[in-house]
């Protein structure tokens, strides 16, 4: 597609459940990034991929969070045993290469009951 696509756009789930968020980057973009934005806050970096590799996982908040990317395309962010503090908008961005302008998807709004 023309832009970064994220799904689902909204997700409501019960505390303790696992969730999987998906990001389809702009075609040809080798770099992909995940961010979290809590209500009224700025963006918090989670993880980035160069190709299918994630050189820096230090931004992931806990070991309940994991991410993978396959085929230098789609990425999934998985949150296991969700907690209420995981409620936020999860944003994905891609860029042609690392260090180039980032283009964002519309995000997934995650609500943990």
């Amino acid at each position: 597609g023309a832009g970064v696509s994220q799904s689902p756009s909204n997700k409501v789930t019960e505390k303790g459940k696992d969730v999987e968020l998906r990001c389809d980057p702009i075609s040809g973009h080798t770099a992909l990034y995940w961010y979290r934005q809590r209500l009224g806050q700025g963006l918090e970096f989670l993880i980035y991929f160069q190709g299918n590799s994630a050189p820096d996982k230090s931004g992931l908040p806990s070991d309940r969070f994991s991410a993978e990317r396959t085929g230098e395309s789609v990425s999934t962010l998985t949150i296991q045993r969700t907690q209420q503090e995981d409620s936020a908008v999860y944003l994905c961005a891609s860029s042609l290469r690392i260090g180039q302008p980032q283009h964002f998807g519309d995000g997934t709004r995650l609500s943990i009951l």
């Binding site: 918090e44 050189p55 820096d56 931004g59 944003l91 260090g99 302008p101 283009h103």
Partner: protein, 110 residues
């Protein structure tokens, strides 16, 4: 880690007014980007500006890397300019992640 400070934190304008948003950062950077988040939450990349000046319509941006600040100018503001403006920097020294400021909320009234 690097600190990114934006000012003012909030701004209310009448349509047609001009404004300047400032971003200060505490260390050397590889690049700097300005984003606009509209009231529906969509983030749009406005400028990729590690140094120098760029213009795009009513918007322009200037980054003075040696003095560690960037300015975003909005001229003849419109109600559609409302939203939150973020400055984000990529620190120099191997980290590839963007560090965002807390944002500046702009409200343009008709």
């Amino acid at each position: 880690g690097i600190q990114v400070e934006q000012s003012p934190p909030d701004l209310i304008l009448q349509e047609g007014a001009n404004s300047t948003l400032r971003c200060n950062f505490s260390d050397s950077v590889n690049n700097l980007q300005w984003f606009h988040q509209n009231p529906w939450g969509q983030l749009i990349n406005l400028f990729y500006i590690p140094s120098g000046t760029k213009q795009n319509g009513r918007l322009s941006a200037t980054t003075v890397a040696t003095e560690r600040y960037s300015l975003l100018y909005i001229s003849s503001s419109q109600t559609t300019d409302s939203g939150v403006y973020f400055c984000a920097v990529e620190p120099r020294g191997g980290s590839e992640k963007l560090v965002f400021g807390k944002g500046m909320k702009l409200t343009v009234n008709p």
